[in-house]
């Protein structure tokens, strides 16, 4: 009986240790998120600087990543706060599915004008989004969705 209890305790100990280790590892990795976040920030900066779609927002500076992320915007969106010194903006990286596959689209929310599509991340900025299969229908859908969600949040 004692041997049986000992074995059981041993098993519970190993399993608990294993899962504690995984939890600590995941917790430790969350501290490294700043590396990924700074890469995302640079990708957003590049789009704002190079894309012809966001020409009037060239001076917008990204302040930082926003937490908690805005819900209901597809799965796992990334949100930034930004400003040009006078006005504040919000930027969203959203997964876009087009004819030629998946892309990461950047959207900018301007309180006065609503949401505009800025461009795609990691692709040739000289080419228009249609070349990559991302149509106006795709981008308009997300512009409207962001507008309505942020409008609802504001009115709460």
């Amino acid at each position: 009986m004692e041997q049986l209890t000992q074995n059981r305790l041993k098993k519970i100990g190993i399993i608990s240790g294993l899962f504690l280790f995984i939890v600590f590892l995941l917790w430790g990795l969350s501290f490294m998120n700043f590396i990924g976040e700074s890469s995302l920030k640079n990708a957003a900066k590049k789009i704002l600087k190079e894309s012809s779609l966001s020409a009037e927002y060239r001076d917008v500076k990204i302040l930082g990543i926003e937490r908690p992320y805005v819900n209901n915007l597809g799965l796992m969106p990334v949100t930034f706060t930004a400003s040009d010194g006078e006005k504040n903006y919000r930027l969203f990286f959203i997964r876009l599915a087009g004819k030629y596959g998946l892309y990461q689209g950047l959207f900018l929310y301007d309180e006065a004008k609503g949401t505009i599509f800025c461009g795609l991340a990691g692709v040739d900025s000289e080419k228009i989004p249609k070349y990559y299969g991302i149509t106006d229908f795709n981008t308009d859908f997300w512009c409207k969705k962001i507008d309505s969600i942020l409008h609802k949040q504001k009115n709460r």
Binding site: K10, K11, I22, L29, S39, I94, R95, Y100, L102
Partner: protein, 187 residues
């Protein structure tokens, strides 16, 4: 009784979406092996501590935790790409084709045929799709894609862009599947 064709066709669903770029293909192929090895590791761990009753729960949680660690690391390394394909890696982790691959490993004396074919298929399809659609090859990079414009360097433009679309991918996959079943039948 298991039907290989059904298993394979179910496994093709995430490929049609994530094979649009070679960069995605590389990450998805690596993910196939990570999911496969995390499944084997969880089996090994459960045998080591000789679990009986809660073996399935332990294996599922343990292997999914390993996949979570992998995704967290990859999100740090390739954050832009992971906005798009993170969801599909989770789908891969719970996909039937991976479950069957792990089962086959133990049933047919360490067989790795299925994950090998699956990962090679993802790589080959993503290679063809990107080449047909854009005449380029992309690799995962911190800022998104590191693109190698092959057609541009040669001085030609892509003429088979349709094969790069999702519909085109399904057609190419159909051809691949037919070839696979013909070869396996001959054997």
């Amino acid at each position: 009784m298991r039907k290989n064709s059904i298993v394979f066709i179910l496994g093709l669903c995430p490929i049609a979406v994530t094979s649009s770029h070679f960069a995605y293909g590389i990450i998805m192929s690596i993910s196939v092996w990570i999911v496969f090895f995390s499944g084997l590791l969880s089996q090994f761990a459960s045998e080591l501590i000789s679990l009986n009753k809660q073996e399935k729960i332990f294996k599922s949680i343990f292997s999914f935790s390993l996949v979570l660690i992998y995704v967290s690391v990859m999100k740090i390394l390739f954050p832009v790409i992971f906005i798009s394909i993170e969801l599909y890696i989770y789908l891969l982790a719970v996909s039937y084709i991976m479950y069957v691959s792990i089962q086959d490993y133990y049933t047919y004396s360490e067989a790795i045929e299925l994950p090998l074919i699956y990962s090679l298929l993802i790589l080959l399809l993503s290679f063809l799709r990107e080449l047909c659609a854009f005449g380029s090859l992309s690799f995962p990079a911190i800022s998104g894609f590191a693109v190698l414009n092959i057609f541009k360097a040669i001085g030609i433009s892509p003429h088979l862009r349709f094969l790069g679309t999702t519909a085109g991918a399904v057609i190419v996959l159909g051809i691949f599947c037919r070839m696979y079943f013909l070869i396996s039948k001959k054997r």
